[in-house]
Amino acid sequence: MGLEIRNSRPYYYRKVRRDGKSTSEYVGSGFVAEYAAVMDEADQAENQTRRERLQRQREADRKADQELISLERTLKELFTTVALANGYHQPKRQWRKKRKR
């Protein structure tokens, strides 16, 4: 944390990233420093919780999607097999019935 104690007095510096460099930004001293430090910590914890929740949701979404994709693939395979068995072919991504010679 950016809370620094100098001569028994707290000073708070917020760490920010500007132009790819990490810099310290002075926030305040005394009560203001302690208050800002607590608030920043709470914000970070909230952000962390939100990130974790989002991560969990994305994982659940990904699993559900996988199931859908696998069902779609199986159906497509079955469709192709039945179409070919019925005498169709797919010359240019379009199913056509074969001419009888």
Partner: protein, 184 residues
């Protein structure tokens, strides 16, 4: 010392692999537009109908759709009212698409449509819910992508049913003798 594990092919796996190889070979021969191969077609028909390949696939897929549907609804909501309403809407959509009158292949296509419709619907709901709150750009892009993909999947599912009906593809299950007949 490291113990090496060896892949062991059980008879069932070997049979399945053999059938898959045979199937892909027949499909390659049937799919050649320059050289129609009636013998390969006949073989493919035999493999599907008499050797019960389609029956196996149908058996595997049977119930998978219901499971996926319930899982998706449970993932979205725990409220009984909402769950019942979504299930009712799915059943209604199935009937509108002619589930009861369709052959097994059409039924599978309809199940896929219903699942994709539900997926699209729930994704759109989550999208509007997520974007109504303050959010960063990454969240916005994530939901945009999800909605687009769900829309495409739904269109593809509709396309499959349309193709099955246009080409008049049938795959009948003979319940009396527990057989599948492919009407080529």
């Amino acid at each position: 010392m490291e113990k090496k594990t060896q892949a062991v092919n059980t008879p069932v796996q070997t049979d399945e692999r053999k059938v898959r190889e045979q199937l892909s070979d027949l499909m390659r021969r049937c799919g050649n537009p320059e050289k129609p191969d009636p013998q390969a077609r006949e073989e493919l028909n035999r493999l599907i109908s008499r050797e019960g390949m389609a029956k196996e696939v149908m058996k595997q897929m049977d119930g998978l759709y219901d499971m996926a549907l319930n899982q998706r609804i449970n993932l979205y909501t725990q409220a009984d009212f909402m769950r019942e309403m979504l299930l009712f809407k799915c059943i209604q959509l199935k009937e509108e698409l002619g589930y009861l009158a369709g052959n097994p292949l059409e039924r599978l296509a309809i199940e896929q449509i219903v699942l994709c419709w539900l997926n699209l619907h729930l994704t759109e709901l989550s999208y509007s819910n997520a974007l109504s709150q303050p959010h960063d750009i990454a969240v916005g892009i994530y939901w945009e992508k999800r909605v687009t993909l769900a829309g495409k999947r739904y269109s593809r599912a509709l396309g499959t049913l349309a193709k099955v009906r246009n080409l008049k593809l049938t795959l009948q299950v003979n319940n009396a003798q527990n057989q599948i007949i492919n009407n080529g």
